[in-house]
Structures are given as structure tokens and as C-alpha cells.
């Protein structure tokens, strides 16, 4: 395997890191009213979709109203979780000092409490992106998503687990924060997770209460239809979020890393790992918004705290910098990335990976550096 640190010379990594820092600085200096207006408009749209969706379900006996209601509610939940919740909780709008846009106070329309998720996602996943045994997003403790994960007969069920995770994704994210696999391995004590568990019970109670008790009850005789409508909206959001998130880190050519490789990383090396460990999804403007701009996963991992609406604008530049340093920039349309992820899930159900070492091509950049020195 190509070592992460062999791709560029130390000087190159440093220069590359400087270019990324400069890019970041330029965008940060340019942030202003337009960015706030954008997210506030989006929040207004989401709230309107939610009110309309909930309202239409009161007329759920009329099938077109039910379908439109579920559609509006699904969109509302997708916008709430992806472009609004995920991004606000990354601190992308903390600079505005507007309490409703504060990463510390925002709560989203899903089972996982914001506070738990901020730890597992903002800190653990974004600090240790694609580092085996550190980044708990690799397989969510359920799946084998990397050849570096030792095979076990349990993983024969990989495709089934993946399908179930996609369907029940919000439950998966919620339970993810309990770090069950670490408890089983004895790395964490159950007692350490008391607060995490208490937050889950509180938040999930409220979420399930509104979607599956209160709103159905309010629609009286239509309760089963409302219940079904809310469940469908949650399911749509689950499938969508799973698809977008898995396409961000697990298409075939995205790399993962070992702990040793990432020890004492410099800022430049950290940036480098974010690029090698992420993949973009190509698509139109609406697609980017619905994906919370996680379609720009590379830009997001480089600059998780820059408002996501800026990612499309800097993507070209990031790509050009990657080209300049001979780094890959993984990108492809949704169906290609999805197919690649599905293939990996199926392939890794079976033993294989590290046990069969394959000859590694020499990284292009190091070779070119040598050629340049020789010239």
C-alpha cells in the first residue's frame, strides 16, 4: 500500500497546505449577509414544507393529498438534516452569532441528539477521517467497508446489514453514539455513556412522540394514514441520507489509512488525507442542496466549518490544486458512486483484502519529483 506520507515530499505537502489555508482564508474573509440570507431562506423553505406536509396529511383520506403531504414532509426532513442541520452543527454559521444558527444550540429533526452527534461526527469522524479503528464511520460498527477490517463469517451478511442500515439510518446514527462496539471490546464502560444514553432517550422520545403519537392522534380517524405518512417521510430521508453519506467516503478508489501513517500529522498532511479519503458526487444545483452539499464531500472535509453553499464555488480551485500536486480528486455521478459502494459492500462480505497483497504502483508525484531532480 502506498504510504500516505510518500505521496508528496515534505516541501510539497507544506506548499499544498499553504494553498489550502489561503483558499480558506479568502472565503472566510468574504463571508457576509448573503450567506446568512441563504441559510435563513432555506430554513423558511424547510419550515413551510413541514407545515404544508403536516397540513396535507389532515386530508390524507384523499390519496393525492397524502402523497403530496408525504413528499413535502420528506423534503422538509431532508433539508432539515442535510443542508441545515448538518451544516449549522458544523459551526458553519457560528460567526454570525445568531443563536438559532449556533452549532451548540441547533437541534435537528432526527432521533440522534445534536450533542451526541457533534462528538461522533464533528470530532471523531472529521478528525480521524478514514483512519481504520479511529474513524467509527467506517462501517458504523456493523459493516465491513474496508479491506483493512479483518474478515469474519459475520460479514457474509454485509449486503443485508447495509440494506437494513439504509432503511433504519436515523436509528443507526442514534445508536452509533453509544459506541456499542467499543463497549463490547471492553474499550469503554457502559457507565461512561450514561449521559449519551439519557440524551438519546429524551430526544428519541420527543421525536417518536410527535411523528408516531401526537400528529396521528390529532388527525383522529386518519391516525393510521398519518402514522404511515410520517414513517414514509422518515424512510425517504433515511434512504437518501444513507446514499449520500456512503458515496462520500466509500466508492472504490477512496483511500483509508492506518493509525501509524497519521501520527504527528502536519496541517498539510491532514488536508492531504481529507482529499484522499473523500469523494464527490456530480449533479445539479438542486441535487447539491438536497445533499447538504455533501456532494462536495472533498471540500467539506477540507473546510468543514465554511458555509456549504461556498463549496461549489471553490470546487474548481480545489480540483486544480489537486491536479497541480498530482493528487486524485474522486468524483462521479450518483449512480456510478452508488454502484461502486454497492459493489464494495458485496465484495467485502467475502474474505479478501490484506491477506492477498497486490503490487503497488509507485505514486506518480514521487516519480515526477525524481524525474525533475534528475533533469
Amino acid at each position: 500500500m502506498t504510504g500516505l506520507q510518500d505521496r508528496l515530499t515534505p516541501e510539497q505537502v507544506e506548499a499544498f497546505g499553504r494553498e489550502m489555508d489561503e483558499l480558506r482564508q479568502r472565503i472566510v474573509a468574504d463571508l457576509g449577509k448573503e450567506d446568512v440570507d441563504y441559510i435563513q431562506n432555506l430554513i423558511r423553505t424547510q419550515r413551510a414544507l413541514e407545515v404544508v406536509g403536516r397540513g396535507l396529511l389532515f386530508a390524507g383520506f384523499f390519496p393525492p393529498a397524502w402523497i403530496a403531504g408525504v413528499g413535502a414532509l420528506s423534503l422538509s426532513k431532508i433539508l432539515d438534516n442535510m443542508e441545515i442541520g448538518h451544516n449549522v452543527m458544523h459551526g458553519q454559521y457560528d460567526w454570525t452569532r445568531i443563536p438559532e444558527l449556533s452549532s451548540q444550540r441547533f437541534e435537528w429533526d432526527t432521533l440522534a441528539p445534536a450533542e451526541n452527534w457533534r462528538h461522533s461526527h464533528n470530532y471523531v469522524h472529521h478528525t480521524y477521517t478514514n483512519v481504520l479503528d479511529k474513524d467509527r464511520d467506517i462501517g458504523y460498527g456493523i459493516l465491513r467497508m474496508d479491506e483493512g477490517q479483518k474478515w469474519h463469517p459475520y460479514y457474509l451478511g454485509n449486503p443485508v446489514y447495509a440494506t437494513l442500515l439504509a432503511i433504519f439510518f436515523q436509528w443507526g446514527v442514534m445508536l452509533h453514539d453509544l459506541e456499542v462496539e467499543k463497549v463490547l471490546k471492553g474499550e469503554r464502560k457502559v457507565s461512561e455513556l450514561k449521559e449519551v444514553r439519557a440524551r438519546i432517550l429524551r430526544k428519541a422520545g420527543r421525536q417518536l412522540g410527535k411523528d408516531y403519537l401526537l400528529f396521528p392522534a390529532l388527525t383522529g380517524p386518519l391516525a393510521p394514514l398519518t402514522f404511515l405518512g410520517n414513517a414514509t417521510a422518515n424512510l425517504t430521508r433515511n434512504l437518501w441520507a444513507f446514499a449520500i453519506i456512503f458515496c462520500g467516503h466509500f466508492p472504490a478508489d477512496v483511500e483509508s489509512f492506518t493509525e501509524e501513517e497519521t501520527e504527528n500529522e502536519t496541517r498539510g498532511q491532514w488536508y492531504l488525507r481529507q482529499i484522499l479519503g473523500s469523494a464527490n458526487i456530480e449533479g445539479g444545483k438542486l441535487f447539491h442542496i438536497l445533499s447538504g452539499n455533501l456532494s462536495h464531500q472533498i471540500e467539506h472535509h477540507l473546510f468543514p466549518d465554511i458555509p456549504a453553499r461556498r463549496y461549489p464555488e471553490i470546487a474548481g480551485e480545489v480540483r486544480a490544486i489537486c491536479a497541480k500536486y498530482g493528487l486524485p480528486y474522486h468524483a462521479g455521478p450518483l449512480r456510478k458512486q452508488l454502484a461502486s459502494v454497492a459493489k464494495k459492500i458485496v465484495k467485502l462480505a467475502l474474505p479478501g483484502g490484506r491477506s492477498e497483497p497486490s503490487p503497488e504502483p509507485e505514486p506518480a508525484t514521487v516519480k515526477r519529483e525524481r524525474e525533475l531532480t534528475a533533469a
Binding site: 419550515r47 452569532r97 445568531i98 478528525t127 422520545g205 401526537l214 468543514p304
Partner: protein, 369 residues
Amino acid sequence: MAVQVPRRLRRGARGRARSLASLAEALLTPHGMDRYLELLDPMLVRREIRGVVTAVRRQTADTVTLTVRPSRAWRGFSAGQYVRVSVDIDGVRRTRCYSPTCSEHGGQLELTVKAQENGLVSGHLHRHAAPGMVLGLSQPAGEFTLPAPRPRRVLLISGGSGITPVLSMLRTLVDEGHRGEVVFLHYANTAADVLYGAELTELAQRHPGLRVVLAYTHERGGDLHGFFEPAQLREVAPWYREAQTYLCGPLPLLDSVRATFGSEGLSEQLHTEEFTPPPVPADGAAHGQVRFTHSGREIANSGKPLLEQAEDAGLRPEHGCRMGICFSCTKVKTSGCVRNARTGELSPEDNVEIQLCISVPVGDVEINA
């Protein structure tokens, strides 16, 4: 399951309204009712406090006086207290403290704002305040208030825009039909700089127990001329030793009045409020004290990021990436100025959230950790 459904409908319209509100909160979880109500009208919010500007007047060239109607969560204030007022400027919510100038009796607020040189919020309000503008408000705060029962003799001293909290005290005393003696001593550069001049004169005419004394520091023609001198006290309020004195104004005025009261052993009777802008931090060596208010720990600023300083002080604040990306260590800075180690940006405002791992204190800083 922790669903918050009203247990039973309580009798009375109030109880019913409250039950409906908690049902609405449960239905609108996790965002809460205010986030939906404000889309209809920003003043409909139930929990947050906002104020809508109903009237604007300009008494002097560099001030603006706003009449503000607060939203329903406002519970009133005591004369002399201040409120935090927020406005959005270029996408950033900016907050400053202002003392209402009105009497504490009555549901409205009156704020007088002096446009400071380079003042972001004061300049914005001075230029853009108009009826219909919605401001963010906080519940009132501050210990600079009149005791109950009211003192029989009250001396109010102010300088410049420091008039605001003491004018509120005066108007409150007038509203309450205060029967003792009140002297209102105000310092201004020139007659043209006196805020509420006509109203003060009129109040003095109507109330025999009230004496208004205007001192001009930069021109003649007032009741007094020049800066504060101890002799002026004996002249305008010979009973000041038996009075409670409330003082607000620029630092030199505060210092000289304090010195006078101190030398006479009257410090206990002197109550002051300062309106000093945050000091402009200078680059260079680390100085000042860092106070972690939650734990009560105080250390000398070592110039390192706050997270490290907190850990050096034996505290264990929550943290994550230690490089400014995960926001786990975000805490509220209640006062002082910090520099962002990544951008170099200074953050001198009070009560803002900062990331401890990339914030370096500049001088004295107080953190709610």
C-alpha cells in the same frame, strides 16, 4: 417515553393557553414554537424577547432616541439596569448594552444611543433606526438600581450619554411621587450636547423637590462651568453626605467623584455605573488574568490558547480536535478580548461563543467554563 403532552386541561383560560402552548411545543419539536411564529411576524415570539421600534427622534446631532415596544416575554426592568440590544449588521448579530431612559413604570422602553466614533452598533442604529425595526432584547441586568424604600435624598450625577440610567431613576421617582429632595447634576460639553434638556427643565418646574443643574465643560452659560469639583457638591446638594448618590459617565468624571467621596469616607453611599468601551488590545507579550467563572479558577494569561491554559490550570473542559474544526470546546466568553489563532481576528465583544482551542486571550478574559 418522554413525550410532553399536557397531563390534564387546567381550568381557566390561562391554563388552557398554557396547555395548548405545550402541545404546540411538542408538535413543533425540535425547533420549538418561536422558530415558526417568527416566520409570520418576528414579534410573535413567546420565549425570546424582541422589541419593535415605534418612534424615532434625534435630540442632538450624534444621538438617536428610540421608543421600543417589547414582545410578551419582557418582564420589565428596574431603573438603572441595562438591557442587551442586538441588531444584525452584514450578517453578524451584534450586541451592545444600553440603559433604558424611561421610567420603570410603563410597558415601553426608551433607549438613547450615542453614535460612537467607529461604533458599529451605535452608528448603525443612528443611521438606520426607523419605526418598524425589530431589535433583539435580553432580560434586564445590573445592580445599579434604587433601593426600596427609596432614599429621601437622592443625588444623581451624570456626564454625556451617561445620563441614560440616572434619567430613568429620576423619571421613576417622579412617577412614584417621590417626596424627598432630588438633585440631578449633569455634565455636557455644551448646551447643544444636553440630552433631554427641555424635559429636565420642565420636570424641575413641576416638582419643587427636584433641582436640575446643568454644567457645561466647554462653554459658559450653564448653571455651572467646567469639570467636576468637590465645591460643586456643596453648592448644588449641601446635604449630599446624608444622600444616596448615583453616578454614571465617562471615566475621568467617575474617578474624580469617587476620589471626593472616598476622601470623605462616603464610598458606601456612592453607586456607580461605567460605560467604558473595551480597551483596544495591543500586540505583544501576554498579559492580564484569565478567569474561568464556572469553576472559579483564575490564572495569569500565558499567551497560549485558552484550552491549553484551562488544562494547565487543572481544568478539564470538553474538547475534540484541538485545531478549530469540531467546535466541541465552544464556550461563552463573558468579557474581555480574544484573538483567533487561525485568522488573527479579534473578538472584543462580551457574551459571544468562542472555540477555546484556537482562542488566545488578549488581556483580561472571563470564560464561562
